[in-house]
């Protein structure tokens, strides 16, 4: 190959690549880009709705883009999503403070605010509210409860799930089975290695004891409280006695390898698909074991609009349309998607329309937990993701026995306090 002509070809290609402009909208077509972490299967009902909206509003094109959950906020802040700016995001509420501080979100217009206040539960509205201001339309609401394998409990001689950490330890100890190498074949109680399962479970137990992990102003932690210490100590005891370990994972519950774990309601989808017809007779839901009055943690997502979007009014219109009741059984588009995933919603109309699909004991238990006193929203604290990861680190150190629970919580309080002190 003659090098000169090859080089020219390369230069041409390079030039093409470099100047590849983002797909720009035709003069008469408005493109609205929606970014969520939902995969193709989960977003399918919404996509059908998108097509319907396009048919009803000619000149509009709606595109969905999936962004990985772990990278979502960095993606919005740094690289923007895809090669063209995104208009609508499905946001985890704890991402909001940072996004708002960098002015990445568009405050909703007044009609949208009115729409939300009229149609959503207070808990959901609270999750989409930061600093007394509403920033979007609430989407899914998730709540944690103890999920247990009825068969495994019965086989170990227990007919009721644990109500306190002591009972938890006793029941889990009876269920745990190990192979001759000492590795767990069936785990009585499972945590997990992901941030959600380590830190959120800890928060849930704190809320169950009615001690929030952070002060109301979001500037200090309550990690040095006796409650937090008791919670972590009892969790650590499970590890110390070999009842659970880092290799006993909550994801193994579906396969029957785990007796109990704290999980969010959206696991219903996975559990049902793996257990099939044995779902109802195997899976039980109970309040989180606690020495306190009882409670749990709620966390939520909401739909927000990018401040740099070139189609803001259209985006808010689309969102309002997606969250208003439609023909099929009165569910909104969002409601249909959430119902398909086994998710719960804060939309009143959807909640009542979903009653058919949520009549099973599993969903009913979670809905009851949502409405019960003691169910508190995860606080939208400053740099929440970083703080969660830091707490996870110290909790795991305590579990591994490398630090005492008291030392771990004190260190966590110090490091996290320093981060919280940075906020404006």
């Amino acid at each position: 190959m003659r090098l000169t002509s090859g080089r020219r070809l390369l230069a041409a290609l390079a030039g093409l690549m470099l100047t590849a402009a983002p797909a720009s909208s035709q003069p008469t077509t408005t493109t609205i880009r929606v970014a969520t972490h939902y995969n193709a299967q989960q977003i399918a009902p919404m996509l059908a709705c998108f097509r319907q909206y396009e048919a009803e509003h000619p000149g509009t094109r709606i595109v969905h883009q999936q962004v990985s959950y772990e990278d979502f906020i960095q993606t919005i802040l740094i690289s923007r999503v895809g090669r063209a700016p995104v208009d609508i995001y499905n946001l985890y509420s704890i991402w909001a403070p940072q996004l708002i501080a960098t002015r990445a979100l568009d405050p909703p217009p007044f009609e949208i605010e009115r729409f939300v206040r009229a149609n959503y539960t207070p808990a959901a509205i609270g999750a989409a509210t930061i600093a007394q201001r509403l920033w979007g339309i609430p989407n899914s609401v998730s709540v944690y409860q103890l999920v247990y394998n009825k068969k495994l409990l019965e086989a170990a001689g227990f007919s009721a799930p644990p109500r306190t950490p002591e009972e938890r330890m006793r029941i889990a100890g009876a269920i745990t089975k190990k192979n001759r190498q000492g590795n767990s074949v069936i785990g009585g109680y499972a945590f997990d290695l992901s941030g959600a399962n380590v830190t959120h479970v800890f928060y849930s137990e704190m809320y169950a004891a009615r001690v929030p992990p952070y002060t109301a102003d979001g500037r200090h932690t309550n990690l040095r409280s006796p409650t937090a210490l008791a919670i972590l100590t009892k969790q650590t005891e499970l590890f110390r006695r070999g009842i659970t370990s880092n290799s006993v994972l909550a994801v193994d519950f579906a396969g029957g390898g785990v007796g109990m774990a704290v999980m969010a309601n959206w696991m219903k989808d996975t559990l049902r698909s793996v257990l099939g017809s044995r779902f109802e007779e195997t899976v039980g839901v109970a309040p989180i074991p606690t020495d306190g009055p009882g409670g749990t943690m709620i966390y939520s997502f909401f739909w927000g609009v990018d401040a740099a979007s070139r189609a803001k009014p259209q985006s808010w219109d689309l969102l309002r349309w997606l969250n208003s009741p439609r023909g099929h059984g009165g569910l909104s588009c969002t409601g249909a998607m959430l119902a398909g995933m086994g998710d719960l919603t804060g939309n009143r109309a959807d909640l009542s329309a979903m009653r058919g699909q949520t009549a099973d004991p599993f969903s009913q238990a979670y809905i009851a937990a949502l409405a019960a006193p003691g169910a508190a929203s995860q606080p939208n604290i400053w740099h929440a993701s970083e703080v969660d990861r830091l707490l996870k680190y110290y909790i795991q150190l305590a579990w591994a026995g490398r630090m005492t629970p008291a030392e771990a919580l004190a260190a966590a309080d110090g490091d996290i306090g320093a981060i919280l002190a940075e906020q404006p």
């Binding site: 090098l3 390079a14 396969g255």
Partner: protein, 302 residues
Amino acid sequence: MAQPESPTHPARNRGALLGVLKYTALALGAVIMIFPFLDMFLGALRTPAERLALPMVYWPHHPQWHNFVRVFTELPMLTWLANSILVTSLITAIQMVTSTMAGYALAKYRFFGSKALLSLVLGAQMFPFFLLIIPIFFLLRFVPLAGGNDLLGQGGSGLLNSYAAMILPFAVTWYGIFLMRQNFLGVPNEIIDAARMDGAGEFRIFATVVLPLVKPSLATLGIFVFLYHWNEVIWTMTVTRSAPDLQTIPVGIYLLRGAFIDQSTFSLQQASVFISILPVMILFLLLQRYYVRGLTAGAVKG
């Protein structure tokens, strides 16, 4: 390549025993090298039921061959494959061009700054890539008038989420320049001078006279670069995290890990991983002769 034969020790029983030990050791090591791939292959063939059995069933009784097909139908493997081919080929081509040109100039010319450039080439290899990831990422983001940016480079995403971002930071390889320079040093100056006297311009000399003389090391460099960048993960991942349609095979598989959270999808994940290593393995098996030949042609000595 010199092939030292077995040492000519006297034929004793001990010699035969040592021979057996030697081949046993090598075979054991080979098993350790190969078996993990086999394990992955078997994992791709298991059914969810076999996975969930206690203990897990190791040899699949009903091999799920269709998992390998599912990789292409349920995952964007073809997109990933196309991206891998495109990006790796471009990087390889560009690096070959820059390495040969600069290597030749540094070998055969004395020009202002050549010593400094040579020191840069040698010294630059000392800087680890992690030092460059953050600044290059943001320099690409703030390129003016690109990706929606204004004149000051604000507002859009710059060159991020583009093939340019995946390729440009790898346009030059210091090691490649060094390697080619070593090779060009071995080209006799007489040939070049003769061509000059015939009136040929420097570029023509380079392309038609000198380059053909270093073809083996060109092949080596090309294969080395291609293999390395086909498998490159950290930079590609950093710049395509939010652009799924640009992701290469390893990056795509890794960033989809959230979708493989339970036992029923593990086999699919293992199948996709297995597919991801096939192209390179086949390529390597076919071309490794050239790679090794070029390596031992005096390039690798300390």
